[in-house]
Symmetry: C2
Subunit: 458 residues, 2 copies
């Protein structure tokens, strides 16, 4: 039963399991106490900190353990902003950051701060120039992920760090997706990561604050972890996290080559085998194990369900049918097709056989979903040389399916107006036009939702 969602959470690495079990007997006491159980706990904690710092490429006294990557981001962003409050309250983030960064930015904004979202290109990558343009005299902090969690695109962290350094602005790097593959290169100031992403246990994150970076921890005072992560330390999990990080990094070079070959196969063969597919993310500067593609005329959640029935666990950035009714902010920021989105993220050790089987199962699963969704007849009304498709009240991917069905019914040069109130249409209709060589004329307000105007070119 292949699990292909390592970017969400990786199964426990054998080294993590071993270290966890070995330290349950010695790691439960309070490391702040001076008696022997406390001293043993302190020794384990200190050794784990040394090991993790070496794997990150920082000093041990720059690194604290938090209870998750999310907590590391929240504490890191809040502490760095507060530390530079006298400089100003401007925060820079990329538009494709993890939700923990964006949510930290939201509370900063709600609290009177200002936030600039740096746009990305169609592959999801930022440019150092865009960060340079966003920097202001009152910029307190900039944030950039080392690699994107949905599409695997690797960001130019070292270049952006240089730009920030020149302006005297600290850069916080969310390294959640990449730390298992190796230290983050570049002159960054703060770094966060999450152990369960590299095969460590749940309940452990890292927050690194380089010496010299102004940092003022927020929230109630607590003496643990240099005052940067409140609450009793989970030492067995911390030991397991550090041990597995070293183990995973030691295997990384070899495993990266193997997984990259497997994801290359998926990148190359899915468009052929499935049709009407857009593979998204940078084809070269990307994490070894992640590949993401979107399938026209497919609802992502139904496809995930079909794949789960066939034994494949993958995830999707298109949640058209989930409770939120909005497609992933990452795909939106990239301006790519979001419908029928599938993210395959291979865990360490994923087998070539399983990937081959996935490539055999996928086309049938997509075809099945498309067949089911193809049924509803569009309500169309002919008005001169243009057609109106009324898809109000219909959810992604129905508006695009109905557009595709009628485009051939207007003459070349004629237009189709798609009336839709589903948020995803705004993204997916232009994407469909780009894929199909049709002209996307634009969006106009309509009675309910919007009218999306498409001109037939071919």
């Amino acid at each position: 039963m292949p699990y292909f969602d390592a970017a969400s959470s990786a199964p426990l690495h054998p080294v993590a399991r071993q270290a966890l079990q070995a330290s349950l007997d010695e790691g439960w006491a309070d490391p702040a106490r001076l008696y022997r159980e406390g001293r043993r706990a302190r020794m384990l904690l200190d050794a784990a900190r040394e090991a993790a710092a070496e794997a990150v490429g920082c000093r041990a006294d720059e690194l604290v353990f938090t209870t998750s990557g999310t907590r590391a981001v929240h504490a890191g962003v809040a502490g760095a902003l507060a530390g530079r409050r006298r400089v100003g309250r401007h925060l820079i983030v990329s538009s494709v950051e993890h939700s923990s960064v964006l949510h930290a930015a939201e509370v900063h904004e709600a609290d009177g701060g200002t936030v600039t979202q740096v746009a990305v290109g169609r592959t999801g990558v930022v440019t150092p120039e865009a960060y340079a343009a966003a920097l202001r005299p009152d910029t307190a902090l900039a944030c950039l992920q080392s690699a994107n969690h949905e599409v695997g695109t690797v960001q130019p962290v070292a270049e952006v760090a240089d730009v920030c350094r020149e302006a005297g602005v600290p850069l916080l790097v969310d390294a959640a997706q990449s730390l298992g593959w190796g230290p983050v290169v570049g002159d960054w100031s703060l770094l966060t990561a999450s152990a369960h992403k590299w095969g460590g246990p749940s309940g452990v994150g890292l927050l690194v604050v380089r010496k010299g970076v102004r940092f003022a921890p927020q929230g109630p005072a607590d003496e643990r972890e240099s005052g940067r992560a409140a609450g009793f330390e989970n030492i067995p999990a911390i030991v397991a996290a550090a041990a597995s990080l070293r183990a995973v990094q030691a295997e990384a070079a070899e495993e990266a080559v193997r997984l990259r070959e497997l994801t290359d196969r998926i990148r190359a063969r899915v468009p052929e085998a499935v049709g009407d597919v857009e593979v998204v993310g940078d084809p070269v500067r990307r994490l070894p194990g992640i590949v993401t593609f979107s399938c026209l005329y497919v609802d992502g959640e139904t496809l995930l369900h079909e794949l789960d029935r066939s034994g494949f666990s993958v995830s999707s950035g298109s949640s058209c049918t989930s409770s939120t009714l909005t497609p992933s902010h990452v795909l939106k920021a990239m301006g790519v097709l979001s419908e029928g989105n599938v993210r395959v993220s291979l865990p360490s050790g994923a087998s070539a056989e399983d990937v081959e089987r996935f490539l055999q199962v996928l086309p049938g699963a997509v075809a099945g979903v498309r067949e089911k969704l193809g049924a509803p007849a569009p309500e169309t009304a002919v008005r001169g040389d243009f057609l109106v498709v009324d898809a109000v009240g219909k959810l992604c991917p129905i508006p695009v399916i109905e557009l595709a069905k009628v485009i051939g019914d207007v003459p070349v040069g004629g237009t189709v107006r798609v009336l839709a109130d589903d948020e995803a249409a705004r993204l997916d209709i232009p994407a469909w036009c780009a894929m199909r060589g049709q002209e996307y004329v634009g969006e106009e307000p309509a009675d309910q939702g919007s009218a999306y105007v498409v001109r037939r070119l071919a």
Copy 2:
């Protein structure tokens, strides 16, 4: 090697270990995902929530798992205060709460809120009348521990909850020390607890918010745990926490009788065997496993070190010689002797033999410390019928030792002025007077520190 500091952290209960190991294989995936690994993780999480809720005596949807008791307190206090911001910004806490509560109160105060600390009696207990007197029309929240962590005194939670309920004010109960002994009785509104205190793993706390209690989670948004505890769930630890809570509560009635008998022995025999000892905390309304006493003319940290060398791990609320130079806020609030303070907190399963051995070792350890400290000769200067002891620059317990040495040198009715600049003297000199039947006249400002005036009565 007996470990007698269960109130800090308890060794892992066998049921916790078993549950943790059993769920490592199934609990690592993201419970928000719909594929089978996610569904399995969700099932484990839901079952743990049901079990924990039953042990607490609440509905499952009222309970979320946090990453520590401290985090539960921070989130609970902040969320409850924000939820009732329209009512006002007044917070009530007892003066003997755990530091996590007091630190949460500090940030509230720093943010413009007001805080009332309810005083305790000499046994560390609050009265419902004192809470009633502290309530104001703008009171947003009251906090009270179920039992004190340093002296074991059980608080009248149900009565205080009634007083608060009548005023329409929610009561948050920090149940960290007592939940393993059974549910907290009474009509409380919020409750927090910490798994490693009952033999569960580190990394898990509980926050219960009763239906109908206004609650507005603070900090960056996060969809996990009803938005009340950000970060990826540590499901294996949560499963272990819930399983061990049930196991510990099932053993509680029998174990309580056994431990109470052991702590009664300590309460009765330490004063006889050691001399010049004040046993603190309520003799009856107290937790079964905790007993705390203070030894005159002893420095707590040195005594702890001696006991550690003899194989006993205990802790102390008197940190005269630690970095902070202030005695425990709990002992201070109770107005009891703080010097030479020792807290014995027996873990589940502590043996009578170990307790007997402790009672044999303790008198020698105390005598040894007293002998070492007895050496310095007091600098005294006779001025009529009173003496001046210059203990400026000397740390606890030296000022009290020097006072005791010279009290016999003035006639009955005469006075001794102790000049001291150590914070602990303010607490310990009056306590010594009460124990010795001498009159504590008062404190006066002096060139350096204060002059503490004592009149010889006997």
